[in-house]
Symmetry: C2
Subunit: 415 residues, 2 copies
């Protein structure tokens, strides 16, 4: 076999693994219970590695929020002070099998969605999705949302989940893709289906604590992005078995820390290939504009990595009222992503494209050769700390990441 | 004003009324409590008027089922015997402000969805949607489904609904149309959203009767067509205020009894304009084929009458796996329906068509002039009694109804 054949074979294997994924929600547990290597005073964050003083405003704000949430500091100033002194370990989520939306910050006591890929036995984790703290807002109200998640919603969901022995996410994902979700920014259907799937189990736990149960039912039946955390954990659980295939040029992670965009490639181990994080081309909440916007941020592009989000946006035109663009553009994005991917998912389909399968397995060679970069739809944080979500939009992954990776690939496999 | 101007003005008024509808679920009550004119031994049925001995097999089967359900007979033979003797009053749903899917049979003790159009104060009713009895299956299992509805699900939902003081259906309808539902045959999104909207209220009634509450939560969170009954009651509640506008050529009802297809027209009062019910062009459940199919049946075309169903099928390509056809055909149906309607709904929109509004207000003149008949997507019953649902598909309303109506209109308004 020449190198080209070896690459094709390796990429076939990567595509096979990506399509075999069977994500099941098996637990909702505090980070310290499930993340190996979660230290006492540690916070993990979105994107490739970055030090405290290089972080963008929104990520710094989110980390300040977590420090207050954990009780390691009482005020934002105090939090900033101990962070400046380097007293908190900061590491990327992706180094610990986890992912997080926007700043993606995870600290020891924060309950996480625990998703197991039953086809391979690996697990991945994601934090709760909300629109304040993870965007850099460290107000009392923002932190109170985390406390409610920790003290009421997550424990009640956990108990309910245990009574039903886990929840298979694949049917929800497949169905939601036929209901106008793209599973990155639009989770209207998946969140509703998830709430439906959990409602009976939650109601059955009522006799122990009615207030928590009714509160949790209210929370999940009114949270249109609750499934994003599940989709992200599922995406990570699906992507991880495709890592470390010799000769594979398939991307296994795409993520951003608000300063840099980073990718990992199956045949290139744990190395990050980075470029400056792009500006998001989006629509803004009243009172905000592009002047206020931070750069692209979050691990949520794990959804595009496994073929959702921008890759299936043609099937989710309802999202255009949130991110802008026309239905025809959206359809073209999905068609275009077929030109940089090595496979098509047999179960995740888009009815409007004649039930075409989601394009999966981004090939760095095809990205560079065709000069087509992955399209990502995402939320927008403020450039400074202290703000909630300010908008949502579309962007292209920077070509530089893929070029750097291709050069590294050439070096590694040329011998 | 010449007659043409009078018609245009009247149709504008019809369109205005159709777009103003504010359907709210206000109760779930036994037919005898809410239907004026519901007599003791009476069953109302789908479609234009028809006598017992002219009814198709499926409708006869459904009526036999209702007779057994009400305890007026113990066996199908006994039921058929009293029906042959004319001992049961049979009248069309549409004569009593109600509608029903497929055979659409409603008897005094059957709980109905009660929808009030808050913009006009009128009410309309629809029965429970299920896949057996209303298709003509009178087996013990089929009738047991009605008893569960009467004794457990409906009373629990009613109690829950009363605690929240009614449920506004317009937001659910608008959202579901952006989630791939067309609100006739595909109710995956609307049913899920409805279950979410009711879950908290249902769970809060738990302390009185846990079994009923958990059973009802299970029922509504696993019933992908539960919202069809609500959409139909909403459609009837929206359509009725558009009736009886002098000079209006807008259709206010389309329905079928399995033998005849009938329409009513705003400016023509209560008169039915009928033609033989068409064959449905569809896909069949395993074990059934077009040989087994009955003709088009049900009041469910009230959804098309108010601009849903086939009229918005372009936004619901997921349904094509059920009814057949391509996404491009579906988009063209929705575009085509714009040519026979007098308005566009400002809130009910299709993202894939650039958020175009649903085409509303079928004009009999445009149907005849353009030779374009309304497209309807619907379920298929067996030609004989005793069977559950056997398929689903698409059909065109017969042109003859519209031609007859136009002739009658010419006679009435020519003086």
């Amino acid at each position: 076999m020449d190198i080209k054949q070896k690459i094709e074979k390796a990429n076939e294997e990567a595509a096979r693994r990506l399509t075999l994924g069977e994500p099941v929600l098996v637990d909702i547990a505090p980070a310290r219970e499930v993340i190996l290597g979660m230290k006492d005073k540690m916070i993990t964050h979105a994107g490739p590695p970055i030090e405290w003083n290089r972080m963008c405003g929104a990520m710094q704000g989110a980390i300040i929020g977590m420090v207050i949430y954990e009780g390691w500091a009482k005020t934002p100033d105090e939090a900033r002070n101990i962070l400046d002194k380097g007293e908190i370990h900061l590491e990327p989520n992706h180094h610990h099998q986890n992912v997080g939306p926007m700043a993606g910050t995870i600290s020891p006591s924060l309950p996480l969605w625990v998703v197991e890929n039953k086809a391979f036995g690996n697990r991945a984790f994601c934090r709760q999705v909300e629109g304040n703290q993870q965007f850099g807002d460290y107000s009392e109200q923002a932190i109170q949302g985390l406390r409610m998640w920790r003290d009421v919603w997550a424990p009640t969901l956990r108990k309910a989940l245990h009574t039903i022995g886990g929840l298979d996410l694949k049917p929800i994902i497949a169905k939601a893709l036929q209901m106008g979700d793209e599973l990155h920014n639009r989770h209207t259907a998946s969140s509703s289906l998830f709430a439906n799937a959990m409602a009976v189990a939650i109601a059955q736990t009522e006799y122990e604590n009615k207030g928590s149960v009714i509160g949790t039912l209210k929370y999940i039946t009114n949270h249109e992005l609750i499934f994003l955390g599940l989709a992200m954990a599922a995406g990570k659980a699906i992507a991880d078995p495709a890592c470390d295939i010799e000769y594979s040029t398939v991307v296994t992670a795409m993520c951003r820390n608000g300063v840099e965009f980073g990718i990992r490639v199956s045949g290139l181990g744990d190395e990050w290939f980075t470029a400056p994080a792009p500006v998001v081309n989006g629509l803004y909440m009243p009172g905000y504009s592009v002047e206020d916007a931070g750069l692209d941020m979050g691990d949520s592009a794990i959804t595009e990595t496994v073929g959702w989000g921008g890759f299936v946006i043609g099937g989710a035109p309802g999202i255009l009222s949130l991110v802008g663009g026309t239905p025809e553009e959206a359809l073209n994005y999905s068609r275009e992503m077929g030109k940089i991917t090595v496979g098509v998912h047999p179960n995740y389909r888009m009815p409007i494209l004649g039930f075409a399968g989601a394009p999966i397995g981004i090939d760095i060679r095809l990205v560079v050769q065709n000069n087509i970069t992955p399209i990502i739809d995402t939320a927008i944080a403020h450039k400074d700390s202290g703000y909630p979500k300010i908008g949502a939009g579309l962007l292209r992954a920077p070509a530089e990441c893929f070029k750097k990776a291709l050069i590294a690939f050439g070096k590694r496999y040329s011998a």
